[in-house]
């Protein structure tokens, strides 16, 4: 234990309080004594105690009254009531008022120690729960988790292993692990367990005794240092997101039933806390996107209004300057000055127009565009990324297609989003087939051009297929996708009076098809 628990013993009979004090001191606890209720309350208000052992029958303020005062001063301190003969009813009353447990006098030391340990264990869990839920910032949370794991399960080493975006395990945070070889060794063991757990969803806690003698781990270097390993899977939404590995290095320090019980509770607390932190992160991201969008729109309005306000007087300055300039002597200093004023006006004009073009809300400008050219241009931008991810691009362009009425830049944006999604769906490489062709005429006899983009990736589960165009809907890990890509595509295609459809077969890939009026 990293700190000795601070215990206050309260009993008006000196032999009793001294006996209890001696027994607990023997166990390594720090013990103080009070001989009546008033003294007890005074001590609680001055010092921090983890536990109070409180006699009920005392002259002056009795145990029940003292309990009330204690809980008022420090609601977290645990209290064990000591009851004499005939105070059974009071003992039950005290439980209702927040006591942890009670002891019947006379009691044996063994009983006392057991109930004290239980109370302190509860106290420790309370502390840890409070700590874990005290923050939703990921970095802080990871540190607290691992420190708590060490504290609550008396570990020599502890590591939190999470899965990265590509599903590869990595050590998010660790304690007591010195040097790369050790980290590599423990990560290897954890990875094997994760693989096993992925197939066996029911497993809660995995206990490994002497991994060196276990065929599953024997080949991992440095694993012999670990004598007992406990692995707690972390589950979020029925999905395995990682594990906590806790190791003990001494032969006699096996994990007992109590440890396993604690580990299970701890793992579920951690899973919940990680989920909170993730939700918080997502919320923050969404919020910052909204703020950004709001800002741009506000800036656009401001710039538009400002431009108008400034352009009026600016026009006056320019016109009047030129009128005076017409009558000025060509060689005079004032003529040069006026020309400088004129130049300054042109500079202002330029600044205002660039501010406007930066802030302007994108307006769709439709003109005849060659869709194959748009795709080629987009591929220039992302060909290198595709190559790096071992993705082949197959182009099946229809010949002599009629131009579509479109905004070149915005259509590029659409294809860029689609290519990026296809790339992310194929982390291990694959192929994207892009096909352009005239499609069968729509019911209103308008000719349509169809562009389909097919990948060989993981595909989209049917249950979420109709949600992929929703704003902020994403399957990418937090921080990776905005959930806006496809909704932006849909917005742009709508402005083109077109349509966009998604089809997918899990395991085989997805096809996005755009229809644009010719």
């Amino acid at each position: 234990m990293d700190h000795k628990a601070n215990i206050l013993v309260v009993d008006d009979e000196a032999p009793v309080s001294e006996m209890i004090s001696a027994a607990l001191s023997d166990q390594g606890y720090k013990v103080s004594i009070a001989f009546n209720g008033e003294e007890c309350v005074k001590k609680i208000s001055g010092d921090k105690f983890d536990l109070v052992i409180l006699d009920i029958m005392m002259p002056g303020m009795d145990g029940i009254a003292a309990l009330g005062e204690i809980k008022k001063l420090d609601p977290e301190v645990e209290v064990i009531m000591a009851t004499g003969h005939g105070t059974m009813g009071t003992a039950i009353q005290s439980m209702r008022k927040g006591a942890f447990d009670y002891l019947h006098k006379p009691f044996e030391i063994k009983e006392l120690v057991a109930v004290v340990e239980k109370a302190l264990e509860k106290r420790k869990f309370n502390d840890i729960t409070k700590a874990i839920f005290s923050t939703i910032k990921s970095e802080e949370l990871l540190r607290i988790i691992i420190d708590s794991a060490v504290r609550i399960l008396k570990a020599d080493e502890a590591l939190l292993v999470l899965l990265d975006a590509a599903g590869q395990p990595y050590i998010a945070v660790s304690e007591g692990l010195n040097g790369e070889p050790r980290k590599t060794s423990r990560l290897a063991a954890s990875s094997r367990i994760l693989e096993r757990l992925a197939d066996d969803k029911g497993a809660s806690v995995v206990l490994i005794e002497d991994p060196r003698k276990d065929a599953q781990f024997a080949d991992i270097e440095h694993i012999g240092e670990v004598k007992f390993a406990l692995l707690l899977p972390l589950i979020e939404d029925n999905r395995l997101i990682g594990l906590i590995n806790i190791n003990r290095m001494q032969l006699d320090e096996y994990f007992n039933e109590n440890d396993l019980q604690r580990a299970k509770i701890f793992a579920s607390l951690v899973s919940l806390a990680l989920r909170n932190a993730n939700l918080y992160k997502q919320l923050q991201e969404t919020q910052s996107q909204l703020i950004q969008a709001e800002k741009m729109s506000a800036l656009g309005q401001l710039a538009g209004g400002l431009a108008h306000e400034i352009n009026n007087p600016l026009s006056g300055i320019l016109g009047l300057t030129q009128l005076v300039l017409e009558k000025a002597d060509a060689g005079a200093q004032s003529c040069q000055d006026l020309k400088d004023i004129e130049k300054a006006v042109f500079r202002c004009k330029k600044i205002i127009s660039s501010l406007l073009s930066f802030a302007r809300q994108e307006k769709t400008r439709l003109e005849p565009v060659n869709i194959n050219e748009v795709i080629e241009e987009t591929l220039v931008l992302c060909a290198r990324q595709m190559e790096l991810k071992h993705i082949t691009i197959v182009k099946e362009f229809g010949p002599e297609l009629p131009p579509v009425n479109g905004d070149f830049q915005q259509l590029m944006q659409v294809f860029l989003n689609l290519f990026t999604n296809a790339r992310d769906a194929m982390p291990d490489g694959g192929a994207i087939t892009i096909r352009t062709q005239l499609s069968a005429p729509a019911p209103d006899k308008k000719e349509l051009l169809a562009v389909s983009l097919a990948d060989t990736g993981a595909g989209i589960p049917p249950e979420i297929l109709d949600r992929v165009f929703d704003p902020f809907f994403t399957t990418k890990p937090a921080g990776k996708g905005t959930g806006l890509g496809l909704s932006v595509c849909l917005g742009i295609i709508n402005k083109h009076n077109g349509a966009i459809l998604a089809k997918s077969e899990p395991g085989k890939g997805s096809v996005f098809t755009l229809y644009l009026p010719v």
């Binding site: 431009a307 352009n311 026009s315 006056g316 016109g319 017409e326 004129e342 202002c348």
Partner: protein, 124 residues
Amino acid sequence: MNMLKKILVVDDEELVRNYVRRALSSRGYDVAAAVDGASAMAVIEKEDFDLAICDLKMPDLRGEEVIRRLKARRPLTRVIVITGSVSDILNPIFPGLAVEGFLIKPFGINEIRDMVEKILKGRS
């Protein structure tokens, strides 16, 4: 008879009215000015102009409305729109106004002279 061509400048910005009027008077046009939409309408009721140069953003009437009424009352009067913001020109109702030209502020004296000359050329 070769009469002076008559031009009306409508703008709430005094500086703009001032220099546009002087830039054109010095080229031999007969230039009147109105400070807002209502006074522009009053002047138009009484007089016929060859050309109106009209701002779009004014405190009382929007320039579009002034131009619409002007064209209804005096179909032969030509119109140049002057405005401080490009987005006015991109306004979808703008093409329906059928004006003869537009200039974005700030514009110089020769820009307005050239445009006026081009539009009024051949008009007697």
